[in-house]
Amino acid sequence: MKKTKLLFTLSIFALLSFDIIKNTYFFNPPQYFPQPTYDFQKNPLDSNKIELGRLLFYDPLLSANNSVSCASCHSPFNAFAHTDHDLSHGIFDSIGNRNAPALFNLAWQKSFMWDGAVNHLDMQALAPITHPSEMGSTINDVIEKLNASEEYKTLFFIAFQDSIINTSKILKSLSQFQLTLVSASAKYDQVMLGKDVFSDQEKNGHQLFKKNCAICHTEPLFSNFKFETNALPVDPSLNDLGRYSITQNPEDKNKFKVPSLRNLSYTYPYMHDGRFATLKEAIDHYTSNIENSDRLSPALKLPIKLTSNEKVDLIAFLLTLNDKEFVFNKKHQFKKISIETKE
C-alpha cells in the first residue's frame, strides 16, 4: 500500500515536470488580434489548471442541487451560448432575465455580463454560481463539495501543488479554461491570413459592414466591448435597463455591452433578451426600427439604409465569421478525467 502511494506521488511529480508548458502554447491568437486585457502573469496558463477548469466548467456540482453546470447554458456546440433559448435557464426550472452570452475571446474583455456587472474574468463565475435563478449555490458550498471529493483534491494538488481548495484556485482554474476559448479560425480569419479569399458577395458584404456596423462591432474581435443603446424598446415584462442598474447613471439607461458577431449562426437568438430569432430580424431592426433618442449610440444617429440585395451580401459576410473549428474543437468539450485513488 505504501508502494502505491509512493508511486502515485512520484507520478504526480512526473506530471508536474513534464506538463507545464509555456503560456503561448495554450494561448496563441493571430498577429492581427490586439493585446489581450487579461493579465496572464497573475495566472499563467498551464495544462493542469486548464484541464481542472474544464472539468469544473462541465460539473453540475457547482449548482446547489448538482443539476446545472456552466455548460448547461454555455454549450460548446453553440459557441458557448444557449441556442434556441431567449432567456437563460437555471436551477429548479427557473428562468433568468437575459440571454446567455457566447463565451470566446474573453481575454480581450474588460468587463463581463451584458451590463458589465463583473469587472474581471476571475470573478465572473461567482455571479452564476450564487445567482438564485442560475446555480443557486454559494462559493463555500462549492468548496465543501469539492473538498469531499478525493478526485478533485488530487487534481487541485496536481494543478497547484497544494490540495487545499479555495475560492482563488477554483476561479483561476475556470478562468484558465475559458481563456483558451479563442475563436480565430473562421473563414474571415483565413482571409486575413491570406489563406482564403472572400467571394464577390462576401467582399461587398464586408464593405457594407465596415461602413455601417464596424464602429461598434470592431474588427477583428467584432466588438468594441463598450456599452451602447441600439434603440430596442424596453420589454415591460423584464424592465431591464442594462448598464444603468450598475452605474445608476441616467446616461446609461438601456445600454448593453456590444456583443461580438463571431459565430453568429451558432448563437441565436440575438440581443440581450434573445428577442430576435433570426439574423434577418436583427438587421431589419437596424435598418427600419431605430428611433432617435439622446442616448442612442452616435454610430446609429445616421440611418442605416440597405437594399434587400445588400442585406443578403451583408449576411454572406457575417457568415464568414462562423468558426466551425472553434465550435467543434474537442479540447473545449467535456472530457472525463479519472484518477485512480483506490488502494
Binding site: 495566472n43 456587472a117 474581471h120 470573478m123 482563488s168 476561479l171 445608476q248
Partner: protein, 223 residues
C-alpha cells in the same frame, strides 16, 4: 563543533531576544462595553442587536513625527466580530510610532485586480458576486426603530467607482497612554445615521455614501 553552536546561537539570537512582536488591537465597542454579537443593547429609545460586524482595514501605515516608520505586512485585514482573534494586527518587528493611517475598505485597484486569497477571499461574505466589488464595512442587526422586515437592518457599505466610492481614509494621532489599542465605537453610527430611515443598504448608492462618510468617526484611541 563549538563553532557550529556559536553560529547557531548567532543566527537564532535575534529571533529570541532582540525582536518583540508588535500588536495593534481594533476592539469593536458598543458604548462602554466590548461588542457582543446578538446581545440586546438599550440605546436611547432603541433596542438594538448586532448580528454581524465585519470591516476591512487596509493599507495600514505607522508614523512617527509625521514620517513613515512601518508599512503593515498584510495588504488587507478583515475584522470579524464572530472571531476576536481578527481584532489583532501583528507586525513582526518592534518600532515606536505616534500615528496610524489606514483605509476603511478595499481600494479600487484591488477591486479590479481579480481574485485574492486570505482576508480578501470572496468567500468571506464581503464580496458582491452579482456586481463586482468588496463590501468595505458590514453591520447587520435588528433595531426596534427599524421599519424593515422583522426590524432587520442591513448596512453593507461598498462601492469603489465614483460617484459611489465608499473607501474612507483614517489617520489617528495617538497619545502615549494606549498607543496600540483602537476602539471601533459602533454606537456612534446609530447617533449619526437614523436606522428608522436608512436600513437596507446593499449596493453602491447615495445611502452607502451617507454611511461611509461617518465611518471615520467610529475609530478612536482608547482614552
Amino acid at each position: 563543533m563549538k563553532i557550529l553552536i556559536f553560529i547557531f546561537l548567532f543566527l537564532i539570537g535575534p529571533l529570541t531576544f532582540g525582536q518583540e512582536a508588535l500588536n495593534i488591537i481594533f476592539q469593536p465597542k458598543f458604548e462602554t462595553e466590548n461588542l457582543v454579537i446578538n446581545k440586546t443593547y438599550l440605546f436611547k429609545t432603541d433596542t438594538l442587536k448586532i448580528n454581524s460586524f465585519k470591516c476591512y482595514i487596509t493599507n495600514l501605515k505607522y508614523y512617527k513625527n509625521d514620517s513613515l516608520v512601518h508599512v503593515s505586512r498584510k495588504r488587507a485585514h478583515l475584522i470579524d466580530a464572530t472571531d476576536s482573534s481578527t481584532y489583532y494586527i501583528s507586525e513582526h518587528k518592534f518600532f515606536r510610532f505616534d500615528e496610524l493611517r489606514f483605509n476603511i475598505g478595499v481600494d479600487s485597484l484591488t477591486n479590479v485586480s481579480g481574485v485574492y486569497e486570505g482576508d480578501l477571499d470572496p468567500s468571506k461574505g464581503m464580496y458582491w458576486t452579482w456586481q463586482s466589488g468588496y463590501i468595505n464595512f458590514k453591520l447587520d442587526g435588528t433595531s426596534s426603530r427599524c421599519p424593515g422586515r422583522k426590524n432587520k437592518f442591513y448596512w453593507h457599505i461598498g462601492g469603489y467607482l465614483p460617484p459611489f466610492n465608499t473607501l474612507r481614509k483614517v489617520s489617528l494621532k495617538l497619545n502615549k497612554s494606549h498607543p496600540r489599542q483602537i476602539y471601533i465605537q459602533l454606537n456612534k453610527l446609530f447617533e449619526e445615521i437614523d436606522v428608522s430611515e436608512v436600513y437596507n443598504v446593499m449596493s453602491p448608492s447615495d445611502k452607502a455614501i451617507r454611511i461611509s462618510n461617518k465611518l471615520q468617526l467610529l475609530f478612536k484611541q482608547v482614552p
